[in-house]
Symmetry: C2
Subunit: 364 residues, 2 copies
């Protein structure tokens, strides 16, 4: 299949720095190539891919100080994709709503994975207008604010199967992984660990905007080795970090649309205790890969039940549900449906402004 | 003629606060209505217009704290315009490059007035891609960084003829009008006034980003009444302020694409001394409405020649060259050319991706 993946130019694919969306695009692209497909990746020129790279700008914009207007480059890239559209069987966008108007009015099937939260007031207006642009959710929970968008499928993210592996070490601490910011509720994680009398290691980046929060709210709570901040870690360090953890604590205070750290933990056999927010209930198999809890006390209580979980079973569940291969196969099935005009609910081809548009695809 | 004007949602039309682009759109829209045309204005719902208002969002975004993603609303508005395109004879956009891809591929003639500077690196890439989207420059100087865009005409801005009028007062000071910021070079204006021994009045806003510049660089130079900061003034105060000025000093340090303050001064019969930058040489008639100079010394020398200028002649030139009526008539002539497929250079209708597109229109 001739597949175009169209990525944001903000970060390289894969990202040089933090960037969940860009990591997922890279994993998906690599798997599609591995499965034998003819994949073209529209992305910044400093990307690295097994697909054909169409450079829409030489450098990722986050690192290109000279560019002030990222939109100019994203809309120029869309024009380039539009001109090349007949060369592809399917166009897969990762650019929010940007492609909707332009690609609703051409013949090559297209789909957009929405990677972010959708609860801003402007999203209501946006999706009330674009009721015919097919979109993929990364969790069912993500759809909640805009149920009437043209959802065609939920496809959970996946990791390359062997990128993170369980290591034969004895788990001795709780882990927190990701970003330190108010919505990630690190202070909750610290209180849970202290109530359980188990050491907590924080492997996390601190963004510039969160620097003050870190210094005033989190740093005073650090008491190494009981509560220890070990800085940001990269992928090569994660297997050790997560294999050594009794569990990952994810007491997030906002409805995260997915939550990659949870499946990273599972890949290492590390169970997750997470607050019932956003995608958590879809990602964690209660009592198998971890526990979904409502608050601090429930989290403390769940810790006592961790011993019942099997770390090999956690890994097994990861392999079944959250590999990049599974993600790529889900997307391929969807591409086939869009190409064939099959979807769970498909209206007749219809006219917009006198132009024939793709069949409206609606959520299952 | 059925005309759509499509404005940014950032500010209301006319703007409640500062906003040159939004003021020009308002003046143009009102004149087109006064000339008997059927005009629809796509803009924020708090706009005030004699045209039909199509509200694309209830409030101007600069004042709407709840909206974080202005792009979502601008692209939704473009979709609304696209669906209504067959209702109009001409679509006139004021949204930079946003409409290019979508409106190049439909039948209603469209044109975009570019209101900003075009010298960022991304502009080169943008206009190298969009060589067929017809654009209007607000000065010839503005075109300089991107000569190969599909320029169809330069149309200078204009003010409503009687909005600012000469008042019978004796001019006694130099005037500076606009914004205090490094690129407006207020310090130059102060030095010019001091060398001439003439008082200078600064009527200017100070943006938040320029507050520190104002406090550290400009405030120490203030010596009322010789150098006096009188704060921001509104349109109702400008006739008095500019009629009382011997001349307007505009020693701008950046290539401003137009410079509305210069024609505001002329409307009051007030000559302008401005630095040779951007549109200045197109707006000032040397030795008639003011003097174009290269530096501080030339500005001081020009002051001694101001007595030769006739203030009624300055007003006369304003009436001939810079009224909103003249601007509207220029746009109407262009609309007719675009509708008829006549332009200074018109290529044959051509195909883009198998679709027939409007004839390419190229600069005269």
């Amino acid at each position: 299949m001739r597949i175009a993946q169209i990525a944001p130019l903000t970060e390289a694919i894969p990202p040089k720095l933090y960037g969940g969306t860009e990591r997922v695009i890279s994993w998906l692209t690599e798997e599609l190539v591995a499965l034998g497909h003819d994949v073209t990746l529209f992305a910044s020129g400093d990307s690295h891919t097994s697909a054909k790279l169409e450079s829409a700008w030489p450098r990722a914009l986050r690192l290109d100080g000279a560019v002030r207007d990222a939109n100019a480059l994203h809309l120029t890239m869309l024009e380039q994709v539009r001109r090349r559209a007949p060369d592809f069987d399917i166009l897969h966008f990762h650019l929010d709503y940007y492609p909707f108007s332009l690609f609703m009015r051409q013949a090559t099937p297209f789909v957009t994975t929405l990677h972010g939260r959708l609860d801003l007031p402007e999203h209501q207006h946006l999706f009330a207008t674009f009721t015919a642009a097919p979109v993929v959710s990364i969790s069912n929970a993500q759809r909640q604010p805009v149920p009437d968008a043209a959802w065609v499928r939920t496809i959970h993210h996946g990791l390359p199967e062997r990128s993170l592996m369980p290591r034969p070490v004895k788990p001795t601490y709780f882990a927190f992984l990701g970003r330190i910011s108010p919505e990630k509720a690190v202070d909750e994680a610290i209180r849970i660990a202290e109530r359980c009398g188990v050491p907590l290691k924080l492997a996390a980046k601190v963004d510039k905007v969160d620097r003050e929060y870190f210094e005033t709210t989190i740093r005073p709570l650090l008491r190494p080795p009981a509560v220890e901040y070990i800085g940001e870690i990269d992928d090569s360090q994660k297997s050790d970090f997560l294999s050594g953890a009794i569990c990952l604590l994810a007491p997030s205070a906002w409805p995260e649309p997915f939550g990659l750290v949870m499946i990273e933990a599972m890949a290492c056999g590390c169970p997750v205790i997470a607050y019932k927010q956003g995608a958590v209930r879809e990602v964690i198999d209660q009592g198998v890969t971890g526990f979904v809890v409502a608050n601090e006390s429930e989290a403390v209580a769940a810790v006592s039940r961790l011993a019942r979980l099997s770390r090999p079973a956690v890994r097994k569940h990861f392999e079944r549900r959250f590999t990049a291969r599974r993600m790529a196969e889900d997307y391929l099935a969807l591409y086939h449906e869009l190409i064939d005009g099959r979807t769970h609910r498909v209206s007749a081809p219809r006219m917009v402004d006198g132009e024939r548009v793709r069949p409206t695809v609606v959520a299952p």
